[in-house]
Amino acid sequence: MASITIRGVKKNYAKTQVVHGVDLDFASGEFVVILGPSGCGKSTLLRMIAGLEEISDGTIAIDGTVVNKLEPRERGCAMVFQNYALYPHMSVAQNIGYSLKVAGVPAAERAERVQAVARVLELEHLLDRKPMALSGGQRQRVAMGRAMIREPKVFLFDEPLSNLDAKLRVQMRSEIRKLHRRLNATSVFVTHDQVEAMTLADRLVVMNGGRVEQVGTPAEVYSRPASRFVATFVGAPAMNMLEGTVTLDGLSLLGDSRKLNVSRTGLAVGAKVAVGIRPEAVRMVAPGTPGALEASVDLIEELGAGRVIYVDLDGAPFSIVTSETVHPEPGSTVGLQFAEADLHFFSSETGGRLDVFKATVPEPAL
């Protein structure tokens, strides 16, 4: 078990900077997920922790020891790669036991430990096979076994589930979670898949463009996104964003075509803001209801348990998720209503969150 401390870490490739000064603290035994779009520097950050990538500036410490100059093997990390990276010419047992062989562990003890790991991962009957003769999920488990056998202080996962099909991904997700509960080693998991991120994380780090946008529990990140980027990146369908200006009695939206009556604590008249509202926080009401915005229905996506209704708000796309059995005709007009507490405000210039309301953060649902 080990804590990880990252201070002012930067990464440059020749002249391009891809990670711009990241400060993070991962507590011992924590499962941290780094979430971000491709190219945001999340994998680079993970590889810097692993020691596969040089740290251009700043320090990374594992358990209080600065590891900048240490070789990967000296850092006590194990890594699970996206493409599994199994050695194709070795059997499953040899793959899992290779790090022990390198470390000079005697063959008998090695076999014993391979057996133990294989038992946990239910790979016992596959130990003699070559990786080529395994399915994707099995390969993934071998890759995890290879990481586990060293009993590392830190587990690093680099998008390990992205090559699996949807069903297997859900299954492996819960297996990783169970494994973590069992081993309780500090884990850092990189992904671009927000469902994966939300379900796995004790704590979520959202990155964009080489910077950390927000750190928090999945519930915090979802209910109080720190920036416009986080708001639209986390949640599916994405949060609706409307550009507006603060007026005396509320907000004028979409170039004055719509008015919204909200109390405007803390915002100056004339300030440009973006108003965000989650699709699932919108209620559909009869057109003409006082205070409701009117919009015309574009498209309905049936999801079985509910449906996503895409409407057009004077050219701005807007979506609603509802579990009610309503089926408005495409082209018909509906009214949209939402509670003030469900609105998120972001500065139009900086994209940062503007705290207009004292929103309450629900307890993390675990």
Binding site: G51, M79, F81, N83, L86, P88, H89, A103, R146
Partner: protein, 304 residues
């Protein structure tokens, strides 16, 4: 692409067959000639029906040219060259692909350029070096005045000398460096996923460990292909062994074949010459047959 075109199929097979005949016909004629007696082989035209003296001719050829020790010499040399090339080029390519150091590309291109300098072009300097391996160092010491200095101080005249003429090392070493092999390995190493290298690093394997445990087993097809080609190439070397083996005990099978070729004024014993040729052809053929499975895989497909 799968097509059903019977006429085209017929023609492609015809071309294939023509190519086959073109390649095999000379060997068939050699084999037939080797089975005739002195009279039949000199008939014009020579009968294309095999004669009955095949084993007699083989035996005569074997004893006349004393092929036993010559084949052994050839085998040692060809095997040494092939093994040397496989090892040296693997190491060179490993260094070029997996390490970052100044002048890396320069070194790669220097190796590449040697493709344009086959042995025949540099035969004189190569001979000079083999005649006395330490000659270049002697020259450097003479030029820098180092030998003069040593003589002044210790009174010993520096005379470095290590000749490799008429030795297996002299036969093998100058042929071991290979740009082709380095290039073949380099291309293969470039297809090995980076993640594998990284996984090995995470598992704690150092560079040499990674090379021995991971890269070499993965490139065994490559090694087989390169080894086979180079074995054949070395087996067929003529000029170099001819030049540096003046001593019969180090003579090669291929160069000794000329002893079987009828001299002007001698009896035209072409049947014996052909039989000798057949004998010399057998070892490389065995190598090709044994290695064929690996060999083809190594040249065509990258194992995924």
């Amino acid at each position: 692409m799968v097509e059903r075109t019977p006429i085209l199929n017929f023609f492609t097979h015809l071309i294939l067959f023509a190519g086959f005949v073109f390649c095999v016909a000379p060997f068939v004629i050699v084999a037939i000639a080797a089975s005739h007696n002195l009279k039949d082989v000199n008939d014009v035209p020579m009968s294309l029906l095999p004669g009955s003296d095949f084993w007699v001719n083989i035996k005569t050829a074997w004893t006349t040219a004393d092929l036993g020790p010559k084949l052994f010499n050839s085998f040692i040399m060809a095997f040494g060259v092939a093994a040397g090339k496989v090892i040296v080029s693997a190491l060179t390519a490993f260094s070029i692909v997996y390490f970052r150091y100044p002048g890396r590309m320069l070194i790669f291109w220097l190796i590449f350029v040697t493709l344009m300098l086959p042995l025949e072009v540099r035969i004189v300097p190569t001979y000079a070096v083999v005649a006395n391996v330490l000659d270049p160092y002697q020259a450097i010491m003479d030029l820098t005045g180092l030998s003069w200095l040593i003589q002044k101080i210790s009174g010993v005249q520096v005379q470095l000398s290590l000749g490799l003429l008429n030795s297996y090392s002299g036969l093998i070493l100058p042929l071991v460096a290979t740009a082709t092999g380095t290039f073949l390995y380099r291309q293969f190493f470039l297809t090995v996923p980076d993640e594998l290298t990284e996984a090995a690093r995470m598992d704690g394997a150092g560079a040499l460990r990674f090379f021995v445990d991971i890269l070499l087993p993965l490139s065994r097809n490559n090694m087989a292909a390169l080894g086979t080609i180079m074995f054949l190439w070395a087996w067929n070397q003529y000029l170099w062994p001819l030049l540096i083996t003046t001593d019969q005990s180090h003579a090669m099978a291929v160069t000794e074949l000329k002893q079987l070729i009828p001299n002007v004024g001698g009896a035209p014993e072409w049947h014996i010459a052909m039989a000798g040729t057949l004998i010399v052809m057998v070892p490389p053929m065995i190598v090709v047959v044994l290695m064929q499975r690996w060999f083809v895989r190594g040249l065509i497909a990258t194992e995924k």
